[in-house]
Amino acid sequence: MEVPILKQGGHLIAAIQAALTDADLIRLQDALVEQVGRYRSKGVIIDVTALDVMDSFATRTLRSMAHMIKLRGAETVICGIQPEVAFAMVQLGLTLEGISTALDLEEGLALLNRRTVNSNQSV
């Protein structure tokens, strides 16, 4: 299932709708890395609210996605990790160290807006 990528302000929002196969995740990664350049976005939100499982592969892919987006000059916020999913991830031993997270889309956007305003001021 293709993940729709929406543009809001200067940000990209990847709104995951349902469980993704590994190939879907890789496609999302490629699309985001490309679109950050095409739209000169400073921020990306990956909304994982609809994911009912985050296993080691999904976590590893999200992590490398965020790192690639960083290398392309934008910030990533992962939002919407469900409480049960967070619980299972911790027990499995999975972390999203170094990656920004937010409770939901609204908080994620607020975080990105603060970040990108600050970085605009500092240059």
Binding site: A19, D22, V53, S56, F87, A88, Q91, L92, G93, L94
Partner: protein
């Protein structure tokens, strides 16, 4: 919910199918939503290992009872290359695939009972159980 159901694991789609099957059975048996997610996550790891290392296999699901407790039994079987050193494979961070190496040790933490039997050149069988927890 009687007998066992089996899912063929041969492609990525089957990973999703297997974990949905596990979640559905988990719900029927009376697992808490957190435990349903834990079971689905464990299934995802083990099914992905089958795809990744053995290409294909099967995963079967069964409702089990012992005394007055109920649970789920999941058996994953493949005829892949097998694991040469299981105790090594069970360690956090050990991976022959540039993975995180968290699958097997993580699943051991997620489930109540966990066993890996593997013969090099013959295949691997992973057996795992989880019992319904009574929060009282």
């Amino acid at each position: 919910m009687e007998g066992e159901t089996r899912v063929h694991i041969g492609s990525e789609i089957d990973i999703i199918e297997a974990r949905e099957r596990g979640r559905t059975i988990g719900k029927l048996v009376g697992f808490h939503p957190v435990d349903q997610t834990i079971i689905a996550t464990a299934i995802s790891e083990i099914a992905r290992n089958i795809i990744f290392f053995a290409k294909q296999g099967t995963m079967s699901f069964e409702v089990i009872a012992e005394g007055n407790r109920r649970g789920i039994l999941i058996v994953a079987k493949d005829s892949g290359p097998g694991i040469a050193d299981i105790s090594m494979a069970m360690q956090d961070g050990y991976s022959t695939s540039r993975g995180l190496g968290l699958g097997l040790p993580g699943v051991r933490r997620l489930m109540d009972e966990f066993q890996v039997i593997s013969i090099v050149g013959k295949g691997t069988t992973v057996t795992m159980k989880k019992w319904v927890a009574h929060y009282d």
